[in-house]
Amino acid sequence: MINALLYIYDFLGPTLGLAGAFGLAIIVFTILIRVVTLPLTYKQQQSTQKMQELQKDKEYIKIQEKYKGDRQKLQEEQMKLYKKLGINPFAGCVPTIIQLPVIFGLYGAIIRSLADSPTPLLEFSKHIYTSVSSTIIPLNSQFLWMDLGQPERFAIPALEGLPVVGDGLPVLAVIVIITSYLQTKLTTPPQPGAQGAGMTQMMGIYMPLLLGWFAYTLAAGLALYFVVSNILAIGQALLMKRFRSEPGPEPKKSKGGGQAQLKGKADGKAKGTKRKPGKQAKAKGS
């Protein structure tokens, strides 16, 4: 990961002469990560939308009512329905699980790359490929108003000396909280039942605050990654929503009660989704 960042930095900074190359390198790197994980995030968002549509499904509502007193049976029936409709309720976890090592790796790469005293720099040299130009060392950690190796604060002279905000406002942390909230809201599947809904609601608050705390206390480079990653995820979710709701050609009629009902609802809302019949068939089989 360090070397990928260095290659991008070398291209953007010393080669193209762009200012704030390390920040730009993090942005480009984040975009690449989102592109690589696009098939997974696409699946996650598909799953989210299917779950949303499922809430209105007649068979689903019937199951909820029928087994509301027997949680175990309710879960069993729900799982059966998921299977029947080709919904994997855990599909949404995969991209997040993949994001975790990326976050840790990127954080380590940022801290190592921006070594600002002799021992860390010598240690950093052990991680660099020989093909990386050594003339780019040390990297410039400045990007806009930020030192990417330090927690971000936007200094406002008028606030100097005041408690908490005296060192500046944590602008990026606030943006991380807002974008994380929006992203969670757009990409988290609704959960059945009061308990599930409660957990969804809790996550909608807990996750943005947690990421905001990371952005507030850790290197600004990581906060930049969160912001860019969130914005891309929001954009992707909105695009998918739009495509699904765009009117288009009549979808092929499918057999089967629940499946047909769900599809009917999805298609009714989304008449003519961009999903290919083949993909649908694959989902059916899973």
Binding site: I111, T119, L122, T135
Partner: protein, 374 residues
């Protein structure tokens, strides 16, 4: 993400990232700084400066009396002829101590307003103390009281783009300075005005000091080159490609520059034309400058081995494996070659230059351990 997994994942994430933050959040550190006035060895390491008897390793004094939070010392202390020791710290402060007993003469005085760290040794030049700082400035202070004389670049101007980690070199009325911003500067000693800046298109950063030899300034770069500049105008005379980062300064003897690189190669290059005479691969990366004593060269390999070689025959005389890493330049004091270990025990070791016999060792607080690690 599924809510049932979100909470445990978040907890694990918080734990791991917090652990990362604690362990690696741009921890500022360096290795021991070592210097000597002949009779005493001065060692700056972590939260203290130690004055150690160069003959037997006994502690003479240490500074400060009690460790101070947030104050660490890694720059080699500078000793003046009148017996004053100047020590910089990682809080960008400089303090003057009496070399005989460690009493504070003046300071600590904070340099600049932008923070920074003092990594390189200061240089005493007449009435001036030249202090290189990680904030990208060279500060000239009056040695009698530490008052400001000038700064390069001036304090009303922007500092250099990157830190200065190397001791400035003074010859006559000129100061030569290398920087992590990849440049070499010549500055007028009296007023700190820039005389020239070497034009090195995309050269590597320079971590250690330049060396003056035969009107040439020699400096090793992280761009894997040893560069030679004419000291009058700063024009490049020749460039030697080493093949890996050169961290330490070269040492020069009889018209030959000796230096190591991070690939573990020790090079001998003619000062006059930059042509390599020989090179030898040693066990481990070399980040420290070698030390010369007559026909011997002492090289500290990062892996923890001190190696003595005979220059004329280019053969190894002896080697001693030590506990810890060796990144500090070895020091020849009388018949002893002294090394400081980084993260090892003992902290200081002295060996007979002839045969590598251990003469003494020093560890703050005392230690029964021998220097040679098994």
């Amino acid at each position: 993400m599924h809510p049932k997994l979100a909470v445990p994942l978040s907890i694990v994430g918080t734990f791991l990232l917090s652990a990362c933050a604690g362990a690696g959040f741009r921890t500022a550190s360096s290795w021991p700084g070592l210097s000597s006035d002949g009779g005493t060895v001065y060692l700056a390491y972590d939260q203290a400066v130690y004055a150690v008897n160069a003959n037997n390793g006994d502690l003479r004094w240490s500074y400060p009396e009690e460790p101070e939070s947030g104050r660490t010392f890694y720059a080699p202390p500078a000793v003046s002829e009148d017996g004053t020791l100047y020590v910089g710290d990682f809080a960008n402060q400089i303090v003057a101590l009496k070399a005989s007993n460690g009493a504070v003469e003046w300071g600590p005085i904070e340099l600049g307003e932008d923070g920074g760290r003092i990594v390189g040794a200061s240089t005493v030049a007449g009435d001036l103390l030249l202090v290189p700082s990680g904030d990208g400035r060279l500060y000239a202070r009056d040695i009698s009281d530490g008052s400001a004389v000038w700064a390069f670049p001036p304090e009303f101007d922007e500092p250099l783009e990157h830190a200065i980690w190397s001791a400035p070199v003074v010859e006559g009325e000129r100061v030569y300075l290398t920087s992590m911003d990849h440049n070499v500067y010549s500055v007028d000693l009296a007023q700190g005005r820039q005389l020239w800046m070497a034009d090195r298109d995309r050269g590597g950063a320079i971590a250690d000091s330049p060396v003056l030899a035969d009107n040439l300034l020699l400096a090793g770069t992280l761009g894997q080159e040893l560069i030679a500049l004419d000291n009058d105008r700063g024009r490049v005379a020749w460039v030697f490609d080493a093949g890996d980062w050169i961290w330490g300064s070269p040492v020069v003897g009889d018209g030959v520059a000796y230096f190591g690189d991070l690939a573990g190669q020790l090079h001998a290059v003619k000062v006059s034309n930059g042509i390599e005479i020989w090179n030898v691969t040693l066990p481990g990366r070399i980040s420290a400058s070698p030390a010369l004593s007559e026909d011997r060269i002492f090289v500290a390999a990062e892996s923890g081995t001190l190696i003595a070689r005979e220059i004329s025959t280019n053969r190894e005389l002896w080697n001693v494996p030590l506990d810890g890493e060796l990144r500090t330049d070895p020091l020849v004091v009388g018949d002893a070659v002294i090394v400081a270990t980084h993260g090892g025990d003992p902290l200081l070791c002295a060996f007979d230059v002839e045969n590598g016999t251990e003469l003494w060792s020093f560890t703050p607080g005392g230690s029964e351990k021998r220097c040679r690690s098994s």
